[in-house]
C-alpha cells in the first residue's frame, strides 16, 4: 500500500521535535551548532544528515480570518522533508540502481549499493538528496523504511505533538487533506491550498507522496512553483545528440575524402 506524509503547515508550532526524532532514530550526526540569524531556523536546509527541516517564515502579512495583537504579521512554520515523488528525479537519475521504490511506494537509497556518483543530487528538483562527504554516499529521508516494515509510523510523525505531520495510507491522507482545506476555507482562511497532492496539481512530478498544506506561494517556503522531473524534458536533447553525432560522422568521412582526393 502506498504510504506517505500529509504535512499540514497551519498547525506546525515549530518545536523541531520531528528533526530531533529523525536524528535520533536514524542515528544522524549533528551538523554543528551554528547561529544563522534566519529567525529560529539554525538547521538551514535538508541535507545528507538532516532529513526533516523546520522553516521559520516571518511575514509582514496577516493570515486572513485571524486576528492577533501583532497586526500585520504572521508566522508560517513548515516541516520540510523528502517528497517521495511519483516520478522521482533521483531515482530516474541513479545509474547503479541504488535508489529504488519500496513496497510502501516510497523512494529509498540502498546504502550498500550507492557509489556516490552524485547524479541524484542534481536530479532532485527540490534540492533534497545530498552526498555525505564523510562516507561518500547519498542520503535522504527513508520514510523510516525500517519502522514501516515493523508496522510502525515514521519517527517524525510519531513525535509531532500537533499532528502537523500525518502519516498514513495515501488515499486516506488525500481525503483528510481535502477536508482540512475545506474547513479552513469555511473559517475564512481562503489562501489554504495543497502543494503536490496529485498529478493534476503538479504534473511535473505526477504528485508527491509527501505533500503539504500551504497558505502562501510555494516560493515563500523555498519550494519550486512548478517542479518537473528532468527526464520529462530531456527527450529533445537525446534527439539533438543523435543528429549531432551523425553530423560528426559525416564530417569525419568528408574530411578524409577531401584529403585523399588530392
Amino acid at each position: 500500500m502506498a504510504k506517505g506524509f500529509f504535512t499540514d503547515t497551519t498547525v506546525c508550532i515549530g518545536c523541531k521535535a520531528c528533526e530531533v526524532a529523525c536524528k535520533q532514530w536514524n542515528q544522524l550526526p549533528d551538523d554543528g551548532l551554528i547561529f544563522t540569524g534566519m529567525s529560529y531556523d539554525n538547521t538551514v536546509e535538508l541535507s545528507a544528515t538532516t532529513w526533516r527541516h523546520v522553516e521559520f517564515i516571518e511575514r509582514p502579512v496577516a493570515l486572513s480570518g485571524q486576528e492577533t495583537g501583532l497586526g500585520q504579521f504572521s508566522w508560517l512554520l513548515m516541516s520540510d522533508v523528502c517528497k517521495h515523488c511519483q516520478r522521482a528525479g533521483c531515482l530516474e537519475a541513479c545509474p547503479t540502481g541504488a535508489i529504488v521504490r519500496t513496497e510502501f511506494d516510497s523512494v529509498y537509497v540502498q546504502p550498500d549499493i550507492c557509489n556516490g556518483c552524485g547524479y541524484c543530487v542534481v536530479g532532485c528538483p527540490f534540492g533534497v538528496i545530498d552526498r555525505n562527504e564523510e562516507d561518500g554516499r547519498a542520503w535522504k529521508c527513508t520514510l523510516c523504511y525500517d519502522r514501516l516494515q515493523d508496522g510502525m509510523e515514521p519517527a517524525c510523525a510519531k513525535a509531532c505533538p500537533t499532528d502537523s505531520i500525518v502519516f498514513g495510507e495515501l488515499d486516506d491522507l488525500k481525503q483528510q487533506a481535502h477536508d482540512r482545506v475545506e474547513t479552513l476555507h469555511e473559517r475564512g482562511m481562503t489562501e489554504a491550498y495543497l502543494y503536490g497532492v496529485d498529478e493534476a496539481s503538479q504534473p511535473g512530478t505526477e504528485g508527491l507522496n509527501a505533500f503539504f498544506l500551504l497558505v502562501d506561494e510555494p516560493e515563500v517556503y523555498n519550494l519550486p512553483p512548478d517542479p518537473v522531473v528532468p527526464t520529462k524534458k530531456v527527450g529533445r536533447a537525446w534527439s539533438s545528440m543523435a543528429a549531432a553525432c551523425l553530423a560528426l560522422a559525416a564530417g569525419a568521412v568528408a574530411s578524409v575524402v577531401a584529403g585523399r582526393s588530392r
Binding site: C94, T96, G118, A243, A244, G259
Partner: protein, 290 residues
Amino acid sequence: MSSGSEPGYYNRPVLKEPVWIWAVPAYFVVGGAAGAAAALGAAAEIADRESFGGLIKTCRRIAATGLVVGSALLIYDLGRPGRFFNMLRVFRPTSPLNVGSWLLAAATPCAALSAVSEGSIGQLAGLSAGALGLPITGYTAVLLANTAVPVWQEMGAALPASFVASAAVSAASLLEMTELSEEEAIAVRVFAVTSKCCESIAATVVERRARAVPEVGRALDSPRAKGLLSLARISVGVAAVMSLVSGKSRAGRRAAGLLGTIGAAAHKFGVFYAGEASARDPQATFAQRS
C-alpha cells in the same frame, strides 16, 4: 509573499549544488576528444587505410589514452571509488550517466585494443571504438541537460550540438599538433576548420538559449563561467581562422591546435561552472520554464 523585493526563503538556494569536482568537466574534455578521434580514425580506416596509416595510428592512441584517463577521472570523482563497477549493475535508459557508463565500458577496451594491435583485429577494434566514440562525444551534454539545474536544463537541446562540436575541435586540435603527411594535413585541416566553425555557432546558440529567461541566463555572468566562456569563444574563433590560413606552416598549425585545445576545454568548464552558479540561485529555479 514577504515584503522583500525577491521571493524566497532568506535567499537560500532551492537546489543542491553539484558535488562534482574538476575531474568531471575534465572528463567531458578528454572523453570527448577521445570519442571524436576514434570516429575520425574509423572514417580514415574506411576511406583509405593505405594513405592515412599515420593518422589512423595517432587517432587510435588519442582515443585509447583519452578513454582510459577519462574513466580514471570519473572513478576518482566517485564518493566510493571502489564501487565503480556498480555502474554496470543495471541498465537504466532514464539515466544518461548509466547509458554513458555502458558506452565507456564498451568503448575503452576497443580503443585500447586498437592502439596496441594491427591488422584485422586492430581494424575491427578501431571501427568499433569509432562507432561507440560518436555517442561518447555527446551524451555528457544530455547528462547535464537531464538535471534540475536551471541553466543546464534551459540549454537543453542546443547543448549536445555544442559538446559534439567541442569534442571534434579537441580531437582536430590535438591532431594539428602532431606530425602529419601532406594528405593527412589536408584532411585534418578540413576537419579542424569545420568543427571550429560549428563549435563557434553552437556555443552562441547555447548561450542565447540560456539567456531566454534572464534569471536563468545570469549564471553565465558568474565570474568563472563568464571568463571561461569568453576565453572559449575567442580561442575557438581565432583557432578556426588560423587553421584555415596556416597552409603548410607547421608552426601555424601547431598554434591553431593549441588554441583550439584551450578553447574546447574552456567551453566545457565554462558550462560546468555556470551550472554551479545556477544551482545556487533560487531566483533561477523560481523563474525556470516548465
